[in-house]
Symmetry: C2
Subunit: 275 residues, 2 copies
């Protein structure tokens, strides 16, 4: 999917919501456990109920890997279902991979070609040759960790290198990588006060913003400091939406939560004349 296609979807749906599919057998409604593939059935119901309210889905790969081969089958079925039924959705493999060049090329093949995701999250620690194999795919997007929303972010990401924080060094350095126009960045909403400075370094790139809601970030503040003329934001919510209910009404409850966020997003977009 091109970035322009994504922007068009956002304008059409008046939403820049991404729904995280952190699907956990211990948290999904118990009545689904009798299905042959409860994870897929849960995801399918959530997707069918919410797709008109969001522009992206983000399966968290760890949750599928945790179930071994069965989990990978559920992941494969989920991404296949999205690509077949809702090809307009932007799909994110939340994998946080990153390795030496020939190994990163393998991960790129796995997620961009075999599974056919539109994008993948990548950790920057190993630098240029660990990121560039992902950037060489046109109309695929590499979402680099910059400033994450967890407490551990302060261990290294906010430490200063020659007076500039590591996460800013990641932004600045990655801009020089070959294929950098395919970069997006993870920036946690819990640190939205940093967004103004981030936008000085990367005025236009899309940001994937986790941490709104459950982790305490505010949508209004994120928009105030992070939005661009082409919106440039994907705000993710996972647990707050998909686990809204553990009853048979779980998909409807998820849609209600997603709708609440879509309404807020529409307000933010309209108040800035971005639609």
């Amino acid at each position: 999917m091109t970035t322009q296609d994504l922007v068009q979807q956002i304008r059409m749906k008046k939403s820049f919501l991404c729904i995280g599919l952190d699907t956990d057998l211990e948290k999904i409604p118990p009545h689904l456990l009798q299905e042959e593939d409860p994870i897929f059935e849960f995801n399918k119901a959530i997707i069918d109920a919410t797709n008109h309210l969001c522009v992206a889905y983000k399966p968290n790969i760890a949750f599928y890997e945790a179930y071994g081969i069965k989990g990978w089958k559920s992941l494969q079925r989920t991404i296949d279902y999205l690509n077949e039924r809702y090809p307009e959705q932007f799909t994110i493999a939340d994998a946080k991979r990153g390795d030496i060049g020939n190994t990163s090329a393998r991960y790129a093949n796995a997620f961009f070609e075999d599974l056919n995701f539109d994008s993948i999250t990548i950790a920057p620690y190993m630098g240029k040759d660990s990121v560039e194999p992902f950037l060489s795919f046109e109309n695929k997007h590499t979402i680099l960790l910059a400033l994450t929303s967890n407490v551990g972010a302060f261990d290294f990401q906010t430490k200063k290198i020659n007076g500039i924080e590591l996460y800013k060094e990641v932004l600045r350095t990655s801009k020089t990588y070959k294929g950098a126009h395919n970069l997006m960045y993870v920036v946690g909403a819990t640190k939205s006060e940093y967004l103004t400075e981030i936008r000085e370094i990367i005025p236009n790139n899309f940001l994937l913003v986790p941490g709104v809601g459950a982790q305490g970030g505010s949508l209004e503040v994120v928009c105030e400091h992070g939005i661009t003329p082409d919106i440039g934001l994907l705000v993710n919510s996972s647990r707050g939406i998909i686990y809204a209910s553990t009853g048979t009404d779980f998909a409807k409850a998820a849609a209600n939560k997603a709708s609440d966020l879509q309404v807020q997003m529409q307000k933010e977009l309209e108040s800035r004349n971005l639609l």
Copy 2:
């Protein structure tokens, strides 16, 4: 496996060799492609031919993920085979994972419990709460990326934070994590001149050293600066061993290459009276 068990194996075999299973269908002997599971058959033959010469095996997870569900089946069969037939081998899931706490806990379950690996490689960018879920498993080992052997290592790892390189900051900070006694570190052999300083920060932890051979590192220099009274080194070789031949003699050729390294390692150990 406990660290002491690993040290005992090293002394018994006079080897601290780790063999990397970067198994690639395009590089394995063509006659194996007619097998139902060529990746597993290749790994099995390599393991059967080399296990007396090494103390660890390191499947590179990307190479398995690249083949989707089939690849995960091959990985599962490989680790099961190792655990059943050669339980004395230290097994490393070279996965370079790392995510927020609840997600890292998922990865820890996947690799330590379901697949039953002894250890996993982890990226440090997301800090404390992304690493500690792995450290909470006793007699399982978390191998944190410190200084990698690729060119991209110079993008961030060697940059200075308040006068100290990021990779040293990773060493220093991670020592304070809960369960830090379960930490090992990745340190590339191509930068063995840094080893003396690394040993000042972590005098005893095991180091997993890639980059000897194919990537240009010297075993002698690594030992000179990195070895400890309990050896404290696992030196990895992947392509240089497993792809020594593409003929029907591939396993024997791999054993010959592994033997060359074992002989060198024995010499290094004997010359330092470490056996």
